[in-house]
Symmetry: C2
């Protein structure tokens, strides 16, 4: 497919799964009406993200446990996959997943589906704050071959870590998709001058640029739990330029792009002039207190059947 | 040492080693007069950077070969080390080094010296364009324990690659120092709107922020060879904020900072709230055409005696 239309949606989430589902279905239709081939939604937009990540709350964990769904058999997940089929589009959305055989095991996941059904799931690897107590970490950054290109996913805090998107790029990703719940540091009264908007922009642009891949970000808006969200769902090209931005309110970033042509341009003559991945040199650092890492949690089962 | 004063110098280079040396000595004195403990200079500021990196030119290689010096015994190197001793300061500067036993082997190197003499040398790993034909690549990102903190170095194009500064951070660097020759994409008439200034800023800020380390950048200014340079030598704190900038003309970025206090703040509560290095997860990607790398050139000798 030479040209595709990408829609990245900013919308609020509620602690009301039926309401969230209804909004997702409505926006899928709107995006399809704008000729979107790919529609991207925020992190945990189905059940609602944690009210904050800095204080453990047993009620919150119980609520997430009760609201979690199995992929792809959960009722809401089936409704979203059916909609993608009927609209003939691809969709990425964030949700709380529970393991099919171990329903006390939760993941913070992103689902990728196409017209023919489920394509793949990404389970968030890097967990900020209280997520460490609620979710199992993912153990892989998979890349999926789709009719739109090779798609890899990451979620929110993953983008702080260059290794996340580097792994996707080295595995051949064309499009990196990031559902997120990236809040203001305060109550949002600073608007785009809030330092968390600045860091969001820096990280988003650089992950596209340093890997010369597309980066599609979808963020929440409004107050949700104790956090305030700044939206700015974006489509960023392989030179690190923001080519579409939803703004900070409910809405859509929309662009029609030639995925491969812009990657080829970025990796040959168009920007800085070199193919960065060709000169990749892995990190070589001895074990130390600063090299602790915990990609320890082997998945309990990779099957989504 | 609790507080230190850092000076990062923007200056032009000439294809005239005596003139460059004289400028370096003059700026070391000026910086010391401003109470600098650490003075940083651009890439290859001693012999002058390649006139461009996109066309091989045998005369240029011969000239670099003739102008190269051994570290620390070369005449200009000794003059700079003597000056650091007499001023009681640390200094970093870029130069063309030739190997002590294999004088046809050139490196694009950064020298770190203190009041007591040579501390260490970094040989550029990532080589853009024609550098690949002129210089041996370095094979390591060393970190040196100094009276000012743990110092690691990178040079110019290295900063496009997140692995460069990640390795320094994982090895415990407090201060990452980058001599560079980062040109405008054009003739400089766009000023700071030139896309190469934008990429310079993005990469500089993010390498500090994602590693929560200090990043000190020193760049050339003026026309040199076929390239135009934008200056903007900078001191960037561990939250990715530019706290001092030289501007685009010959001059000095100067700041007095508490190196460790700002690192501790960045890695605890001050920004995003987490210690990113603690959650480092290495890249895990299978071999592919995109994972070619060439940290192949084992140094011919690591001794600087």
């Amino acid at each position: 497919m030479s040209q595709i239309t990408i829609a990245s949606i900013t919308l609020p989430a509620y602690y009301d799964k039926a309401r969230n589902l209804s909004n997702l279905l409505k926006w899928m239709k709107r995006a399809a009406d704008s000729s979107a081939d790919l529609v991207v939604f925020p992190e945990q937009v189905l059940q609602g993200y944690l009210p904050d990540t800095l204080s453990w709350n047993g009620d919150v964990v119980s609520w997430q446990m009760a609201q979690a769904e199995v992929i792809p058999h959960g009722e809401s997940v089936r409704a979203l996959l059916t909609k993608a089929h009927s609209l003939n589009i691809h969709v990425v959305f964030g949700m709380t997943e529970h393991h099919p055989q171990h329903d006390e095991v939760l993941f913070n996941s992103a689902v990728l589906a196409g017209p023919d059904g489920l394509i793949g799931v990404y389970r968030k690897v890097h967990q900020p704050g209280d997520e460490k107590h609620v979710y199992y970490p993912g153990s892989d950054f998979p890349v999926f071959d789709t009719a739109l290109g090779r798609i890899g996913m990451l979620i929110c805090y993953d983008k702080v870590f260059p290794e996340s998107t580097r792994e996707l790029a080295l595995k051949g990703a064309d499009i990196m998709i990031m559902p997120t719940a990236w809040g203001y540091s305060g109550d949002g009264s600073l608007g785009d001058a809030d330092p968390m908007v600045d860091s969001y922009t820096l990280f988003g642009r650089i992950r596209a640029l340093e890997n010369q891949c597309w980066m599609i970000e979808s963020n929440l808006c409004g107050q949700h739990g104790n956090l305030h969200y700044h939206g700015h769902s974006r489509i960023i090209n392989p030179r690190g330029n923001i080519i579409a931005d939803s703004g900070s309110e409910e809405g859509m970033a929309l662009a029609t792009v030639d995925v491969r042509a812009d990657i080829r341009a970025a990796r040959s003559t168009d920007y800085l002039g070199y193919f960065f991945l060709k000169d990749y040199v892995p990190v070589s650092a001895p074990a130390s207190p600063l090299t602790v890492f915990n990609r320890h949690a082997q998945p309990l089962g990779e099957s989504y059947e």
